[in-house]
Amino acid sequence: MDITSLTAVELGKKIRAKEISVAEAVKASFDQIERVERDVHSFVTIDKEGAFKRAGEIQKQIDDGSLQSPLAGVPVAVKDNMCTKDMLTTCSSKILQNFKPAYTAEAVRNLEKAGAVIIGKTNMDEFAMGSTTETSYFGATRNPWNLGHVPGGSSGGSCAAVAAEESPYALGSDTGGSIRQPSAFCGVVGIKPTYGTVSRYGLIAYGSSLDQIGPVAKDVTDCAVILEVIAGHDPKDSTSIDRNIYIHSASAETNGLKAGSPNLAGYDFTGALKEDVAGMRIGIPRDYFGEGLDAEVKEKILAAVRELEVRGAVAEEFDLSLVQYAIPAYYVIASAEASSNLARFDGVKYGCRTEEYEGLHNMYKKTRSEGFGEEVKRRIMLGSFVLSSGYYDAYYLKALRTKALIKQAFDQAFAKYDVIIAPAAPTTAPELGKSLSDPMKMYLSDIYTISVNLAGLPGISIPVGRDSKGLPVGMQIIGNCFEEHKIIRAAYTLEQTRSYERPESAGMRGEGGDR
């Protein structure tokens, strides 16, 4: 049997049915890593020894019936910005190249409690700043569909690992599109949940008001199951929201939610796995389908919308407005937060310290200048500038006001529509080495994903075919806050109309790809 072609849920089922042992599942992942990692380079750290040890422990708990989670025994790859106790956590940065956290991130702990086996930590853009995974200190990850192209970013390692079948599923994080865009480029499914749904405790912060952890997997079912495991209210994260309480509160109503709306707005994500879009109102923002969007991407997405219409959904074009202001507002807010968040890397508490220095401030400056890459420095500088006295009002507060208007625009849209459908990115994956020379151009490629983070909304990226170069096209379905159930239902329904496509690199053993 071709174990690595299974979804996480399928594999978990076979493990619980004793058709496959946990050790076999783990071995299948490492065998595949052995085959493809040299080409794809999804990982920063691979923990073979730890994974096999853990596999034995999990197997016992499954055998004695104490562990029954759908993910029990299933291997997982974790983006390298989530702390894992005693396991390297580098953020793909030189400054953290030797960092072994003293605790594990809450989302990862939730996976561990469910019996997940961590096989390694995935490559990313340094501190999640980038859209191609090329800013990693440890070198770029390649797209499993075409090794000459990028996997997207910043969760490029997680998405490539899933597409190349090195891991059945992975965790990513999304600040401006960092789960949805690489999922699109790699032909896998990824969800960025409503802000506050998954704890950020132990996620090394980039833009704290925007960061969310989410699942990356082969299908929508996996993503819903994983999200159900990692989500939950965490008192250790002050921005974590108890969805069960929030949806019944008065403040929910000011956010356009009806108090007492069905429990699907809580933590039941798998309950939304239904093939049913009858009467679902879909908004197609005209401003997302105009200039700058690749014609083939547009065609694939509109074709997918038609499939949903055939199944009873009602799609309509509308003007979302303010689209051109999302990127400038994002770069002000994210850079400002980054400049503050990354102040903690100073060569004192963890990470590297420069060799030679004179006095404390010189030590800080030299350590940081040697330890951070170009893109990270660029954003820290910009962030420091927009927060500095004299510029704070003109830039930072202006951006926060713009954010309020963008949120309003979405509120108005969701008064009319259940979901909004958009591209995940303007093009398919660009070639390696073509993006970093012009940062502004790279920033613009996040145009369809960024406003979702600014407004705290949930979004899912799902593959809808391939372009003439053979590269995957991803479609984004955006929901109102706490309405993951609608985007999951729409994505699941669409998924039933097509079969999962594997890159040749994943199936290079020559065994059939019938899944």
Partner: protein
């Protein structure tokens, strides 16, 4: 509307950011920042008069709890990552004359 970043400004931002840039890096940082700010200035087309700055999408309230220690002494674990340590403390260059 083209923004011009002076040498003094880039120097000052370097101090705030705690980054030491070489002459060449400074010139590049100036050019990058000017370009980004020109782009960010497009926000000025937008009338935000009377709009409250939104730092959080949801209304956030302070979270209170009883002042009970929930952690054990983690100093050994915490110090394990210190580049330099001494007497169960982080070691840093001398800070007071």
């Amino acid at each position: 509307m083209a923004n011009k970043i002076s040498d003094e400004t880039i120097e000052y931002v370097g101090i705030l950011a705690k980054l030491e840039l070489s002459g060449e890096e400074k010139e590049k940082a100036k050019a990058d920042m000017e370009r980004m700010l020109d782009y960010i200035d497009t926000l000025n087309e937008l009338d935000t008069e009377g709009v409250e700055p939104m730092s959080h999408v949801f209304p956030v309230h302070n979270v209170f709890r009883e002042d009970v220690a929930s952690y054990k002494d983690g100093s050994t674990d915490t110090l394990a990552n210190a580049p330099l340590k001494k007497d169960n403390s982080f070691k840093v260059p001398k800070t007071i004359g």
